[in-house]
């Protein structure tokens, strides 16, 4: 049910062996992206066109870009564009498997289409009614003026609403976002995400609310506020942020790192940056979602 890495996806399909995957992952860090892979990723060329250029290259000692332009597959400006394009990790993994003759370009292209469709189904695994609800929440959502109206923030909130609907339930509504310099917590779990978009995210709620939230999340019936309840809420936040980092990697080639979730109880939470507090009212209690942005490079 969870998003799969492309490597895991290939393993599950039986396309590659665990040894082949481990070998490929080992060399991934030192592998250079190729123009052909970039062209497939950008949709400028089909896999069979890329194969055609590589075959032509065995007859003419010319660069890939030059040949692709000569053959009419790319324009010169597209070549320039590709040279500055980022490549997501999964495409680089695919390129290595092609280089090792484990896959052909055409097989890779088909597998990526399938991977993305599985992934998107997962991403939109909400029934239409729930999707409408999330859309309505987003359209009614008032972002404070000083909160950057960025695509990154919107996609973060969209994913949050989707995950709440998917894992906790759709019986919630949101109130307006508040801007605070520090936040007094009840039971609070925070997690930092680092990279070119660095932020602290946190869920804060009463213990009673946490018991129901955790019970819904792991399909269990917790009776008291104990370490399993704490761990369940950490797991929810970790999963949510994990999915977000996968999305950012796939959609923007932005590699973010997750830090371990941290619990806080009855403290004054500060980061040195302002907090955006989003109250999420469930039938069983209110959850405050907190976001403190430390760095954002577009």
């Amino acid at each position: 049910m969870h998003t799969q890495f492309f490597g895991n996806f290939l393993l599950n399909k039986g396309v590659i062996t665990p040894e082949q995957l481990v070998d490929a992952l080992k060399i991934q860090a030192n592998t250079h992206k190729k123009l052909g892979t970039l062209a497939i990723h950008s949709g400028f060329m089909s896999a069979s066109e890329v194969e055609d250029v590589y075959i032509t290259q065995t007859h003419y000692d010319k660069l890939f870009g030059e040949l692709a332009v000569n053959l009419g597959y790319l324009t010169e400006s597209q070549v320039d564009n590709l040279l500055t394009t980022q490549l997501p990790d999964y495409m680089l993994l695919g390129q290595i498997l092609v280089d090792k003759n484990i896959l052909t370009h055409v097989e890779l292209e088909n597998l990526i289409t399938e991977y993305k469709s599985v992934y998107e189904i997962y991403d939109l695994e909400l029934i239409e009614e729930q999707q409408n609800m999330v859309n309505k929440l987003l359209s009614d959502f008032y972002l404070p003026e000083d909160l950057p109206h960025s695509e990154h923030i919107l996609s973060y909130l969209t994913l949050l609403f989707n995950n709440l609907v998917r894992f906790i339930g759709e019986d919630f509504t949101t109130l307006n976002v508040m801007n605070l310099s520090e936040v007094p917590t009840n039971f609070c779990i925070s997690q930092e995400v680092e990279g070119s978009f660095s932020f602290l995210s946190a869920l804060d709620m009463e213990q009673e609310t946490a018991i129901t939230f955790a019970s819904r999340y792991v399909n269990d019936e917790f009776q008291e506020f104990d370490e399993y309840v704490r761990a369940s809420i950490e797991d929810f936040l970790n999963l949510h942020n994990g999915l977000y980092t996968v999305n950012m990697s796939n959609d923007f080639s932005m590699e973010l790192q997750l830090l371990p979730p941290a619990p806080h109880e009855n403290i004054l939470l500060e980061t040195g940056f302002s907090f955006y507090l989003l109250p999420i009212m469930y039938s069983f209690g209110t959850i405050n979602f907190l976001l403190s942005i430390k760095k954002m490079e577009e």
Partner: protein, 123 residues
């Protein structure tokens, strides 16, 4: 199987329980538990477990560092890295540090069965 010691290292008690519950079903019962990388290293040195599951993202010392130090102590250590969604870069680092295999959360019975079979066969 009584002699097979398995170390589970994860900062989440919930994740440790979920993994332990699955492994118990396969007849193993001797477990060590650590909630951070440093505890895992200390427990490994003291007990030399036959199999280690290490989560990547943990406080105090993360899984990648723990794998590095355990392998320094025992190059033959059998370490399986546990990856959560969104930790692909760290997963790659863990594999480069010498993890033998990896398993992705959430755990599935068949995924864990494959790992136990690969490591212990019919033992």
């Amino acid at each position: 199987m009584e002699n097979v010691k398995i170390l589970i290292c994860d900062d989440s008690i919930l994740a440790r329980k979920q993994l332990k519950d699955i492994i118990v079903e396969h007849g193993y019962q001797d477990f060590l538990e650590a909630s951070n990388g440093q505890e895992a290293i200390d427990l490994y040195k003291e007990h030399k477990p036959e199999l280690v599951f290490v989560d990547i993202v943990m406080p105090v010392k993360d899984g990648v560092q723990a794998i590095h130090e355990i392998r320094e102590f025992d190059p033959e250590a059998n370490i399986i890295v546990v990856s959560s969604v969104g930790t692909q870069t760290q997963l790659r680092n863990a594999i480069m540090e010498g993890a033998r295999d990896f398993v992705q959360k959430p755990y599935t019975n068949s995924g864990i069965a494959d790992i136990l079979k690969a490591r212990f066969g019919g033992r």
